[in-house]
Amino acid sequence: MEYSLLDIFLSVLILFGGIFTFIGSLGLVRLRDFYSRLHGPTKATTLGVGSLLIASVIHFSTQETGLSLHELLITLFLFITAPVSAHLLSKAAIHLRVRSVAKLPAIIEETERSD
């Protein structure tokens, strides 16, 4: 059985993207507190969806219709918005005083106790 080099490359990219998306959600379920859970899915966004979209660009560019770059719009949009939403989420969590597994600095712990 003979596979073309393009098919092998696309398959590797798709598998890589799928595995990273899965690992991101696994981290969302398995990690212990909110602040570490925040870290899992951002990798799924950049690496997982990123490589899937690169695979899509290569696949549609090698069809008869010619170069197709509009998938890069989604990549660009996700890469811009992912840090913004992560920052807002962590700000909201700090505002609500969500528990963390990390110990607070001594000075903050004192003021929290006197509250």
Partner: protein, 95 residues
Amino acid sequence: MLNPANLLELAILIGQGLVTAALALTLWRLLSGPEKPDRILALDTLYVNAIALLVLIGIQRNSSLYFEAALLIAMMGFVGTVALCKYLLRGDIIE
């Protein structure tokens, strides 16, 4: 059934399985998340995974229609996440 004569189709099927499993795990976190930000984070991850699934279906069906849906989800999902976080932070969305 699976047809391993076409490597790309097999890879797409495996990728779709992985992304679907990721969607299920995220849904579990959305339903059980102990804190409010956990649920918002799960919603955020849910839409990113939905984009991944739509891109895979687009490659499988060889159609660029799915791309439009993925772009819409990317834009609307971000606005939704920001609105929910703003609501938690300020108690109001548009002040």
